[in-house]
Structure formats: structure tokens, C-alpha cells
Symmetry: D2
Subunit: 378 residues, 4 copies
Amino acid sequence: MTKPKLRIGMVGYGFMGRTHSNAFLTAPRFFDLPRQPELTAICARDRDRAEAFAQNWGYGSVETDWKDLVARDDIDLIDIAAPNNMHQEIAIAAAEAGKMVMCEKPLGRTAAESQKMVDAVEKAGVANMVWYNYRRIPAVTLAKQMIDNGDLGRIFHYRAKFLQDWTISEDLPQGGEGLWRLDKSVAGSGVTGDLLAHCIDTAMWLNGGIDSVTAMTETFVKEREHTLTGKVEPVGIDDACAFMGRFANGSLATFESTRYARGHKALYTLEINGEHGSLFWDLHDLHRLEYFDHRDDGRTRGWRSVHVTDGDHPYMDKWWVPGLSIGYDESFTHQAADFIMGLDGTPAAPTFADALKTDKVTDAVLKSADTGRWETAS
Amino acid sequence: MTKPKLRIGMVGYGFMGRTHSNAFLTAPRFFDLPRQPELTAICARDRDRAEAFAQNWGYGSVETDWKDLVARDDIDLIDIAAPNNMHQEIAIAAAEAGKMVMCEKPLGRTAAESQKMVDAVEKAGVANMVWYNYRRIPAVTLAKQMIDNGDLGRIFHYRAKFLQDWTISEDLPQGGEGLWRLDKSVAGSGVTGDLLAHCIDTAMWLNGGIDSVTAMTETFVKEREHTLTGKVEPVGIDDACAFMGRFANGSLATFESTRYARGHKALYTLEINGEHGSLFWDLHDLHRLEYFDHRDDGRTRGWRSVHVTDGDHPYMDKWWVPGLSIGYDESFTHQAADFIMGLDGTPAAPTFADALKTDKVTDAVLKSADTGRWETAS
Amino acid sequence: MTKPKLRIGMVGYGFMGRTHSNAFLTAPRFFDLPRQPELTAICARDRDRAEAFAQNWGYGSVETDWKDLVARDDIDLIDIAAPNNMHQEIAIAAAEAGKMVMCEKPLGRTAAESQKMVDAVEKAGVANMVWYNYRRIPAVTLAKQMIDNGDLGRIFHYRAKFLQDWTISEDLPQGGEGLWRLDKSVAGSGVTGDLLAHCIDTAMWLNGGIDSVTAMTETFVKEREHTLTGKVEPVGIDDACAFMGRFANGSLATFESTRYARGHKALYTLEINGEHGSLFWDLHDLHRLEYFDHRDDGRTRGWRSVHVTDGDHPYMDKWWVPGLSIGYDESFTHQAADFIMGLDGTPAAPTFADALKTDKVTDAVLKSADTGRWETAS
Amino acid sequence: MTKPKLRIGMVGYGFMGRTHSNAFLTAPRFFDLPRQPELTAICARDRDRAEAFAQNWGYGSVETDWKDLVARDDIDLIDIAAPNNMHQEIAIAAAEAGKMVMCEKPLGRTAAESQKMVDAVEKAGVANMVWYNYRRIPAVTLAKQMIDNGDLGRIFHYRAKFLQDWTISEDLPQGGEGLWRLDKSVAGSGVTGDLLAHCIDTAMWLNGGIDSVTAMTETFVKEREHTLTGKVEPVGIDDACAFMGRFANGSLATFESTRYARGHKALYTLEINGEHGSLFWDLHDLHRLEYFDHRDDGRTRGWRSVHVTDGDHPYMDKWWVPGLSIGYDESFTHQAADFIMGLDGTPAAPTFADALKTDKVTDAVLKSADTGRWETAS
């Protein structure tokens, strides 16, 4: 009883190329999938490094031009793990070639780019997904189930932060491998597209659409050497961005992101306050969900620290035993599994269309930071 | 060697009347003060309850009209622990009568009221102070010392929240004793003057002035029964308020306050991120200061949970031994002690003039929430 | 309606003399007591310092010989806050003079001493109490109420630790003021009587009697200068002590105490595990009780961090508002209040007879550390 | 440049069979190994299930008798993931056949069994290792490096606990798949061999040998249905075990383990207190190491919560980026990688000889629980 294959062509071999490759290798070991993923080809411009990557991860072949990858008949799915400025062109070409498309986040550098990508996959009718992996941390998925179940009642507040501290040094250059996130022409924006996009995707999944926002951005270090030109050049990205807003359900939003918060490596936190209870989650301790239930008896009521490692927690029946935690990379494994399981039924989210909504919010945030006014986000 | 007395006339016997009375009784037991505070008179409209209060706390006499209290020759200091709408009139009269004046926060319902009070005490040349007690939680005072010492370097971010959950029920009425904070005519505003004022006072003490803000407010429950009229009446206060802003030193501000955050009773938190390190404090665990020092060796660097109970921590040489914590009320004791020690030297802060600056920020916040634009805050 | 006075004669003006004095001054401000405590006399050998103490705390008079204090007609209650080696003699004399007696813990240096003290107060029929103050931290009292209510079901485990780090330096001398706890002739024992006695008192209050124990002690620094003789002398106390045991209810006990645990100032922790749930408490965050209720729904079950500051929590209706914590000293205030309220009804615990049971356990612990065998503890 | 293969024959397909299989598959993706592990054969009595396991994990073939597996020429390494009662026979046969041997912990059911296994691998001169995986949690490895570096100075205390709550129900049967840990004939002991063995292995690795112990055990549920016989039979294992002891370096040991601690799923905690500092680690938040450094400035000293996810932390340069955590299973991956890297150099620990020392301690613990006396542990 051989399963049909899902033949994958990956573009990019950086940090995200590794997480995606690992996910496709691991998912079929822990999940019963209807199709067997196969790492068919890796594509990157540097052939030597691409071959080393292929050997390490077990890719069957190597391409150095993504157009050649897209043109191959033996590829079912193009997975884009390349920098943001390449997403649009590759995704549209892949869709036009009839391939399924998975893409790292954010979908486009702007909502305009994303709109074209959505149009392409919808016209082609191909399966598509964006790697907003944090939805599939079990504690976050549990939060989603609880909210959908009405455990919190009417929602009043949603707040999220994504704090890092890795760009504080003025000696850090911009551009080039590993540093393209500081180059606006490649990344599109700074923390807004990189970090707030994650926060917004989760927020709208958990709490619905965001109607309007007012925002503030800052670039603390104005000039940095560019590794590609060797010259000191202006920094175009936002080092920090905060915004306030209103959700369609009437609740209030407060969001903040920065790469200048000493002591925080990747502190993505979210909290939601409702009539009956509240939830809090923190990427630094990703296996815990903090839950306050006001309906508990008053004298013994308190924030519950739920260690999300039991068999009845989302995804956790597939892993170890209660008390033994999984890590960051398993969120990608879950997403790969869900994508494959969704191919023959309800497509797994977030689709390109879902990710476009996030880009509309980030566009409005950046616009508001410029105009100093409230802007609509949809 | 008898110390000169400091004869106190207190106005108000509610929650704050108790904290102030306790502070004046306790301060001389633990601090070596140049003057001996004496609870000379308590003033409140209900004579029976005032007399019970006087007996409990050891006040020597009772007044039922604050004008009579202010007129007495045997009073050195008028301490105003009455609702916000009475602050201005009493404070100005007390100053004009040559009394020292202490006043609960916020100073006025608006900066205009506060300005008149500042003018009065400055014209009279009388000692004055506003009870922003959180400055004198030892962990907060330690934060101040560390920041002034340059431990954090250049500051990038300051964020504060004050979250409560006690007004979520629609059945809670407004107005009357204990509930005047929901009545705009008495309180002046909702969470902005009540909770954010604390956050702003601490923030400007720690990080300097705030230049400009953009804000958002919400009133979740639009109508509540008024206990004085017995009728359902519109709610005029802000149930929640968030704002962003820029400090004069170039750092970014994000503030939020609400009475609709389930699970948080009085969660005042503040965090400040600088080039070299960060600090975090939380009123729910007020004896701890969290400190990250980036200059620690990288492999063993982490947020330090400083249990601020040692003899070399601010104020703590006056209390017990290391590891044994003090509580909320001691912040008032410290403030009373500092006020008295400042009478013969450098006046203790925050003075009325300091508190006026906070009211200018809250005014700007409320204005911005109305206009939807950035407003200047000074 | 004047209340009858409770005229107090205090012996000792050290750390504990201050906590007791503060408790008697504060208790009537916050609790409605049937008798009004009066600080009638303080007794200590150094007259100048005794007088300074009297002036600071408002004692009416000074004695320099405790026998004179005990002989006075205007004293109702003798409160012993002197070092351990003085407890027995003073307490028996006070009882024989018909005074009520309160005594710092441990009651005696040995159970034999304590037995004589119990005999004396019982023969005299005078009210008596030992200052095991931690029972009256609201979170600990709440734990007691929950256990008595059956919330935990059958108990399997009880564990407690009291960890400090203040005697690690070999340069710290023994003996003399503030250091008598290192002198075995004065203190009776080291951490066993000082710290484990607290743990045992709470444990037997919460979980019933301890039947048998096996123990281990260690003295890490074998010699220290003695401040009274000026010579380096052997250290007789136990620097560390751990024991295991069995409670009468069949549950298992594990206890540990040391003054050599770096990073812990006064870390008294206790945990109790039962069929339905568990409780954990920590003196360093004394206002929190951690509670796990297995009967909660499995998917959202977790340790609840109960912030014990609400009006329906033990003692807390007397203090501030939810979220605002009290400190270490309030546990003494509660004990003073309970003692006075118990004078005309059910006597408040722990009485001398209760404290004797604790001393029997500490005796068995020290004996087992010597014999290397299990010893009975009652 | 093809690497030589390391051909693995696995015995057992339960929980541990999965963790080992995943480790061998994952290790070469993230570590540069001198040999390429190959999943050559899986052995288990039920052929259908063995074949399903082989297909899922990519094993090349299936055996149903471990003797056939051991006899195969195309196997380099026998990895024993079968229940404890099978360890001895398989390991000795494998060694005699010249295979490398890896074995799940504890090595034998008793030290006598383990001794025979040590003799066999040493006589055969084959590489060997026991899967005490917790040594290779990065935070635990970091603790080892810090202790070896002298960061803590002279050690005074070591304490460890391993608390679970999964056997409290009297309805839980013993014996059979997944429940053999409750059957003494299979497991050898209860929590002592299962949980305390982990604690002891880590302890002796970090802090050296244990000389002597005194212990206490309890079986709370005396009878349980046995799934293989269908009858209610006596429970032979220890449900709980605590012991105290002395390390060779003079420090004191306190250990506790139970399956009756409500709210704890797999709470393995360890703490070590030294002259200069202390360390604490907790399996429930396995990516954090708590560190107190007394040499920090006194006013800002506190327990540091080190988030062990940076590139200069042990193993973490192989994974993601700072702030992104790994989980339980990666500890097996690290162990597999270290074993393979040790084949051509210094053999990786813990070897069978190391694990024998742990079994000598557990034997002494169980003996002391029986005799009520201190027993030597080596």
C-alpha cells in the first residue's frame, strides 16, 4: 500500500530552508499522511553549497535557477524559502506552471505584491499556504480551540509584542546573507513585516479582523555599512514599530515590535482578555499556555500554567508522554503535516488569501506611521 | 530631646485616608525623622463615622467641614485624601492659610485645575507633595538609582501597563462611596487619571519628559445605574486607554490601562530597555526587580530576579532581614518619611509642580483619543 | 465604650522585639479587638538602649532585669523576644506570677525545657502562645482552610525546605548580639531549631503529627571566632539538617534546611500532594499560593498562581484592595490580633503545648542524626 | 566522499524505540558525523507491528527474535530499547557477537546484572553507552561546564527530585505493554530504577560519587490488576522513594521521587549550591538554566534565568537562532551524535561502567529502605 508522493522543489537553503526541509522529513514519521513528501530538488544560486545542502538533507537533485526548478515535470510543490523580494515572481511562475506553492512569510513586501500572488494561485487553482508557523505551536492551537469554544466570552483586549535585541550594535552591517532583513529593498520593511506580521496573523486567526490602526515607527541606527556595496548607507527599515487598533469585534489592539529590547531574543507574547477569562502565551516558554478562568471559585482562582504536553492537547498525541516538551521546529512539522492532510479535504490555513489580509494591516501600519493618523486596515 | 511636631489635618477617611494615617503612624517607628507627626484632626462630613475613624487611628479631634479644618491654628499640614473633585478647592484654601499641603493623585481633574493648585502653593511658599506612592516601592527606587547611574545606557523603549478587572460586570453601579471613580464629574476621567497617571509619573521620573502622544480610549459599558440618582445614566469615563508616545530623550513609549483585563487585579508593570540592559517591575510581586545586564558573560547571561529585601537596597535597612518582604502600605510610609525629612532640606518629590506635568500628559492623551491625532504633551 | 487594656511587658529589643512591638501597635488599627494592647514596659539589660527603644516604640517604662518586670502588678502579659536560652526561666517565672505568656520560637532549646514551660502555664492556667508567625501568612492560612475542607483528598507527600546563605563566610564570628544563633549554648541547635522548627510547626498544623524520622546534619565550618571570648572556638551548631519521616496519616515527609544555599535568603517553601490536588507556597513570594486541582478539565488544567490579596482571603478584608500585597510583618500583626481575640473564647494556637510537639520532633531529628537510625518523634 | 555506515539493529518499538530511531535519523542532518547511521533492522516479537514500525521509520528489515538480530553480519550496533528484564541477556549476547551496544537505562535491574554486562562489553572491547539522555539537554550540559570550570566553588548541597502523578488511580493495572514499569519482575524496581536512576546519573556526573545513603520507600497502592494474568496481584514496586546521602566531596545529597505528586507530569529538578553560586534546572522548562552568582554586585544580584538557546550554548549552534527552543527528543539526538563522534576518539559517556555506578547507588537505596540504616553506595 504505497502512498502517492508529494515531490517538493525547495528554493532557498538558509535558516528557513532548513526548517522546511526538516519538517517534510519529520512529518511522515509522526503523522499518518495521505501523501509521502519527497525532497526532490533544492534550488540556490551557489551550486557547491546547494549540493552540500542536498546531500545533508537528502534532496535528490540540485538546480541553480528557480525558473528551471519551476519548469520541471517531476515537481508537485514549490516551497519558497528565499528572501522576501523573490516571493512574488517565483510564486506566480510556480502557480502558472500548475504547481502547489508554499511561501515563507510575509507573503509579499506589500499588499500589492501579495494581491498578485493571490490572484495567481486562485486563477491556477493550486494549493497554497504561507508559513506562519506559530499558529501550530500546540499552546497557540489550544488557545484557538478555547476561544472558538467561547471559553473567554466577549473579548475586550488583545495585545501582542515581538521583542528582539540583535541589531543594537551600530557595527552590525546591513544586506547580504543573513542580514538581508536590514535591507529595505529586499525585506520590504523592518520589524513590521518580519515580526509584527507574525503577531497580526495569529491575532486575526484568534480574534478576527482588524479594522483600523494608528502607528509609530523608529529607526534608531540611521546608517549602516552595506555588505554588498561596502559603503555606509542609510538604513531604510523600521527598527521598532508599535501600533494600536480596533478589531471588528470591538476589542482593542495594542501591538509592539522591536529589535532594540535588551534581554529578549525572540519574545513573542500574546494576551487576550475576555469577559470570562484570559489567555497568555510566550514563545520563550512555548509549551505553556497561561489561562485565567474567572468562573473558578473566587478564593482559589489564579492564572493556570498549562503545560501543553498531554495526549489530549493539540498535536501532542503524536509525540512523547506528558511533561516532555517539543520545540520550535515542531511547529513547522505540524504545518507540513496539516498542509498535506488538507490536500484531499479542507485546505489548511493560512492560505495566500489569508496572508494578504495580514499584509493589508502591515501596509496600514506603515502608512499611519507616516501620516500620523488612523488608517483603515482592510 | 523632644522633636517638633508636625500636626496633621486629614480630609477623607476612605481607602486612602487609611493608607495615609497608617503611614504617619508607622514612619517615625522605622525612620529617624526630624519632626514627630501627630494625627491632630480628621475631617469628613459624616460625624459618627469620622469619630469612629478618629478613635481607631488615634486622631485627636474631628471636623465635618474642611473649611473649619483649614482655619484651625493647630494644624501644620493638610492632607487631602478626598475624591478628585475636591482637590483643587481644598488645596488652594490650605495653601492660602499657610498650611503645607499633601494631596492624593491625580492632583487635579485637569491640568488647568492643577495649574491653579501649583500657583497657590508656590505663591504661599508652602511644602507640598502628591501621593504618587509607587516611586517609593524599594524595587522601583532601585530602578531609579540604576538608571541614574547609567547602568542601562542609552534608552530605546519604555512600556507600562496598569490592568485591572473590577468593572467588567454591567451590574456594577457608578457613583457614591467607593464607586466615585466611575463618575466622570467626580473623578475627571476613568483609567487615564486613575491608573495611567501612576504609570506616567513613574515613567517621567525614570526616563524624563514625554513630548507627544497618540491615544485610544473605550467605554465598554455605556450605561450604569448611578447610586446617587438611582437612575441608569451614561458612563462618562474611559474604561480603557492606551497611548503611544515619544520621550524627550528619543525613546519610544507604549502605555496601556484598563479595568477589563480578566485575571489582573492591579497589575502595574513597567519595563525599560537600554543599550546595556533592561529592567522590569510588576506591582503584583512588588519586592522583585527583574534586571538584564548585557555586559554579563554571554553564556551565563539571563534576566536576574533581584529580591529587593537586602540592607543595601533602598529603604530596606529600616525594616527586617534579607528575604523578608514588605508590602504595598510601606510605600506610603516611605513617602511620609521622605516628605518629613525633606522639610528641612531638599523638598521631596513629586511636588505639585511635578504632578502638573503628569496631568498635562493625561490631558494630551484624552485630547488625542478625541481628535485621532498626535498631541503635544507639555 | 472603652476597651479593657492588655498591658504588655516585652523582654528583648532585637529583631523580634521590633516585630512584636509593631504587631501590637498595628493590630488594633486593622482588627476590632476586645482588648486594647498597651506597650507598658520594655526590659533589656542595657538601659540606654532600652530607653531609646521605649521612646521609639512608645513603651511607657523600662526595666533592666526581667525579674523586676515579671514582678510588676501593672503587667498582664509577658512577651519573650530574648534569645532561646532565656525562654524557660522567664516563661516559668511569668506563669508563676500569673501573667499571660507569649514566647518566640522555638519554645525551649530542648523538649525537656519546653515540657517544663508547658507544665508551668498549664498549672497557672494562663493564656500562652508561641510566635510561629508563618501560620498567619494569608496564603498559608488559606492552604490550611483548603486542606481541612478536603480539597486535596488523601495526602501522599509533604515536603518543606528552609534555605539561607548568610553563614557561608568563614570570617563570620559566632556569639554576641545578632550572632547568638551560631552559639549552641544559647541557641540550642543550629538550623534545626531556628528554621526546621518553623517548617515542622506548619507541617503538623497542615498535615498532622509526625511519627518517625531519619536525619542527617552537617557543620561545614568547624571553627569560628567567638565575639564574647575573642577566641576561635569549635562551632557546635548544625549548619545544615535534612530529614525524612512518616506522618501519622501515612504520608511521607522530606525536610531540609541549611544556611549554605547560595542565592536563597529566607526561602521557606512547602508543598503538599494529595489525591485530588497539590499546594505550594514560598516565603520569598509570600502572597501567592500555587494550587493544582486535578478535577479541573484536563486540557486546561495547570498550577494556579493564586494572588492571595482578595477580600475573601484570610485576613485580607482587613487590609487594602485586591492586588495590593502585605508583607512579612503582617503575619505578626495577625498573630497578635488572634491571640487577643482568643482571650475571651477559644485560645489561639499554637499554644506552648503545640510548640512542645515541634520540639519533640526536632529532638528526634537531632538524635537520629547522631545515631544514624530512625527515631520516633512523639 | 562517502562516509562509512553505522548499521543499527534496534530491539524494541515502544516509546524508547521511537526516540532512538528519531535520534539516529536526525543526528546526521544537524551534526557533521564521521559515520552515517543506517536503520538496518528492527526486532520485535509481533511481526505485523514490527513491519509497520519499520515502514514508518525506514528500517530496512525486520526480525522477530533478537537472537537472529544479534547473529546478523550486517549489523554494527545493537540498540536495546526493550523492557529492563531483557537488557542483560541481549547486551551480553551482542557484546559476545562483537557488536557495539547501546542500552536504555537503567542498565540492569540490579547492580549484579549490570556488572555482568560491563564485564561482557569490556571483555569484547566493544563501544557501549547507556541512554541517560538528560545529560545532553543543553542547559544540563552547560551546568556541567560551569561546575567543571569552578564557577560554583566548593559544593555544599545537591538536591534532585523527579515527581510524576500518573499512577495515583487504583484502577490503573500493572504489567503488559506500557505498564511493565509497575511490574517488579520486569522493571526491577519502581521509581528508584525508573526516575531516581536519572537523577543519580546526572548528580554523579555533575558532582562526583555518592558514598552513603539512607532511604525511605512506600507503595501507596498495594494491589493492582495484572493485565497479563487478569488477577489482582500485589504491587512489588516502590511508588515513592526518597533518600539522603553524602557525596565523596563532602556535600550533602537529598533526593526524592514519586508517581503520586499531583500536578507534576515529569518534574525532574536539580539544584546545586556552592560557595560562589548555585544552579537550578527543571525538565518542565528544559531550555532554561537558573544561575545565581554571588560575585555579582550585591544590589543587583539575583537568580539569572538563562535561556539556553544561543549559538555559544552547548549543542545550540547546530539548531536555530537565539530564543528558539528545542525539546525533549533533541537530547537523544545529541546523545546519538556524541556516541558516533566518540567512536573514533574518546568514547562518549555514560558507558556501561558509568551506569553500573548508578545501579550500585540504587541498590544501596533500596537496601537502606529495607534495613532502616545508612548503607554504602559503592
